[in-house]
Symmetry: C2
Subunit: 459 residues, 2 copies
């Protein structure tokens, strides 16, 4: 049992009535004088589980608490050992950036495959995982709930889908499958940005307007099952403002419930549809239950403003996708996407990827995962290398879609700098002759999409 791993308690209990609604189970995990309480969940057929992520190395003990006698007062313990290779703990914010719990910096290079798990198509899921393993992406946005038109083999709720659902009960088969995929991502070092609600039901299952009780039971159950996986992030909703049945107050309630139910303080955000600049209705990311911006906006150049107005990490999850579909959000070129990446990331934001290339051998990545056929992933890998190699004394300046023949660079006073010319599209890095101080004019080739990297050197 390693630090930041998952410890699971399994208990037998009642199967009659509605255990999802009627049975309360949690466990109090103790490390020295500190107690962390984790909620349990009913996994069907009389089986109850409590999952827990220990955050310290050493002996942990626990006691279960339940309103059902046979589940109450179970005691036990385990020894958490130091993490194995590749386990840096969960990601936290660190100012306007992110870092793993062990201090390793984490730079989110996210992508989106909303429904890659819903079909339960094992071959495609394996392909998606292979694609991710070979990609620059270390975060994946994915939905718990299906969309209205989908007819997946399993859904989160019990009963007959879609017309005879019993939303007071959950479907353990669905969730076991989902959490196995979250665990697959964890093994690949990929953060799972779990989207709890979305507005794409089109009235089919009524999941946009289930009522406070059902919404919160769904939250409680999902969090109890998934929160212990250290790669989980909570996205309260995708395009929250497209859900006309919920108000900002409802979303506040949902995010506050996540804070209360998740003992690990996983990252929390909410993703907008359109309301970036309608100030009156704009989601206020300064609220304490939001850990970082999760932005949909086609332009990354206001990143500075967002960081200034609300100094939390800016993740632009949706900046339009490389693709060829009819919708404006899904048919920018790879070059245009990379332009937006560089503008955003050199301003201190984190831009996200999506691919909506329809008809390229299969359905598009953005919906169902599979393979990637665009031109941007290779350039994102190149950008990621550059961003991750950044350290004190390294300056980056993106020159954009313009093609000025020269640029004046003001170097920090007192230092000697080497300068490199980066072609962000051709993925080349070419040193500029000499060692430079103070102000220098750099001649540029007649091309857009260039950047300069200035690295402090010792003479």
């Amino acid at each position: 049992m390693e630090r930041w791993g998952v410890h699971e308690i399994e208990l037998a209990g009642p199967a009659g009535g509605n255990p999802f609604a009627e049975v309360h189970l949690s466990a109090r995990f103790q490390f020295r004088n500190r107690i962390v309480e984790a909620e349990g969940f009913y996994d069907g057929e009389g089986v109850y589980r409590v999952r827990f992520m220990p955050d310290a190395v050493g002996p942990w003990s626990y006691t279960t608490v339940s309103n059902v006698t046979e589940l109450d007062g179970h005691k036990g313990g385990f020894e958490a050992v130091p993490p194995g290779p590749g386990n840096h703990g969960p990601v936290r914010t660190k100012g306007i950036d992110f870092a793993y719990a062990d201090g390793t910096p984490y730079l989110p290079f996210g992508t989106t495959a909303y429904h890659w798990t819903h079909d339960m198509d094992e071959e495609r899921e394996r392909q998606t995982l292979r694609t991710l393993a070979a990609s620059p992406f270390n975060k994946l946005r994915m939905c718990v709930l299906p969309t209205g038109p989908m007819r997946p083999p399993e859904v989160p709720f019990a009963g007959q889908d879609p017309d005879g659902l019993d939303k007071t009960r959950f479907n353990p088969v669905f969730f076991r499958h989902l959490e196995a995929r979250v665990k697959d991502l964890l093994d690949l070092g990929i953060e799972a940005d779990i989207i709890l609600f979305h507005p794409y039901d089109f009235g089919v299952r009524g999941i946009q307007d289930m009522g406070w009780e059902t919404d919160h039971a769904f939250l409680r159950y999902t969090i109890a099952r998934l929160a212990a996986y250290r790669n989980v992030w909570w996205s309260a909703a995708n395009e929250y403002d497209f859900n006309k049945s919920k108000t900002v107050r409802d979303w506040d309630d949902i995010l506050r419930a996540i804070v209360r139910l998740d003992p690990y303080e996983r990252l929390r955000s909410i993703h907008n549809g359109t309301r970036m600049f309608e100030v009156a209705t704009l989601w206020d990311n300064t609220k304490p239950w939001v850990t970082h911006h999760s932005v949909q906006h086609w332009d990354s150049t206001p990143t500075d403003t967002w960081l200034k107005e609300c100094p939390k990490p800016v993740v632009i999850d949706e900046i339009s996708y490389e693709g060829n579909i009819g919708k404006r959000w899904g048919n920018v070129t790879g070059q245009e996407l990379m332009e937006r990446y560089w503008e955003g990331m050199t301003r201190g934001g984190y831009v996200g990827h999506g691919e909506s290339l329809a008809g390229y051998q299969e359905r598009a990545w953005i919906g169902n995962g599979g393979g990637l056929y665009g031109e941007s992933p290779a350039r994102i890998a190149f950008l990621r290398q550059i961003m991750e190699a950044r350290r004190d004394g390294v300056l980056l300046r993106y020159l954009g879609r313009r093609q000025a023949a020269q640029v004046t660079v003001d170097l920090p006073p007192g230092g000697d700098y080497g300068i490199e010319l980066i072609d962000t599209w051709d993925m080349t890095i070419t040193p500029v002759d000499g060692v430079h101080r103070d102000q220098v004019r750099v001649g540029l080739p007649r091309r857009p999409y260039l950047a300069l990297r200035m690295t402090r050197v010792e003479r």
Copy 2:
């Protein structure tokens, strides 16, 4: 003497005093019962001239009018014959478009070389004319006044340049050279969009703030010399709003003076600097002394709005130039410029060209003419061919920088249409198989900058 050519009367008169200010001369040209009065000008060394463009075929007579006896009451006449090949008369507006006086449509494909005549460098001027002759451009924006930093061999005013100018007198050597170049353009079929004032004096010659009397004497003299050339258009100013010494009322006065002084009603416009969307200060192109919009704006997509709010031809003279200089207005790529061309021209506007590629063998075209080294002129030639081939029953739809895999085309009801796919950058036109009616889906290659041409066909 052909219709729309230039008839010139030369007279000897007084050389003493200040003939520019003290001698008034005009001639009343009569065709049947119609009289057109044209102002004359002093050309130095006791020589006075009146230039006149006859607009009808047949016998014309004239009588001079002057406050000086020796210039007054001269009579004469000439026979105007039908125009020769290539002489279609002056360009007029026709709704939101333009046409020559003989009815031939004129689609402005303009470019800018502000100061190509000021150096009086014959070799470079010849190169500029050769470049224009081989180019798609049929309109050239050019300034009368030099900029502050320039030290040209001749300037429009008499006296010692720049410090000892006598702005009550003009410099015939300068103007003879200028009008020879305007005549060169006329011979190439290129309209000369003459910029009368500009705000780039930087206090050197005081030409931004010469006072009403001098401004209007300059207007009177320039118009008297140039108006008879049928390819002349009047641009009251470049970036008028950057001249802090003049108000909108001053510009109204200047444009009204042009209306009064120019007997031919040449096209008149004024070119903005920044104030496109500051409604309170926006130049109002609906004023009757403005014949068409002369827009500086980086985005051509509001063309529809401008046409709706003020239904006169929209000429976007300055939409950023293909170039590599440090200024934002002068370093877009050829591809970006063409994107703006197609967006604007398929909306009914006329986009203009400029090239500010510095260091490509010589100074940039936009300032001094010379050669063109950019990627856009060839694409503008391709676009011009397509625009000029347009007729009733031909529809154009630009698909822009996006790359949708297919597009739905709604064809006008009742007709059969052939469809062609245009690659605006690669300059190819590829027929789409079949003959189409009503609604059709057209599959597209994975590239931006495509357009569709739908041509009505008879089965």
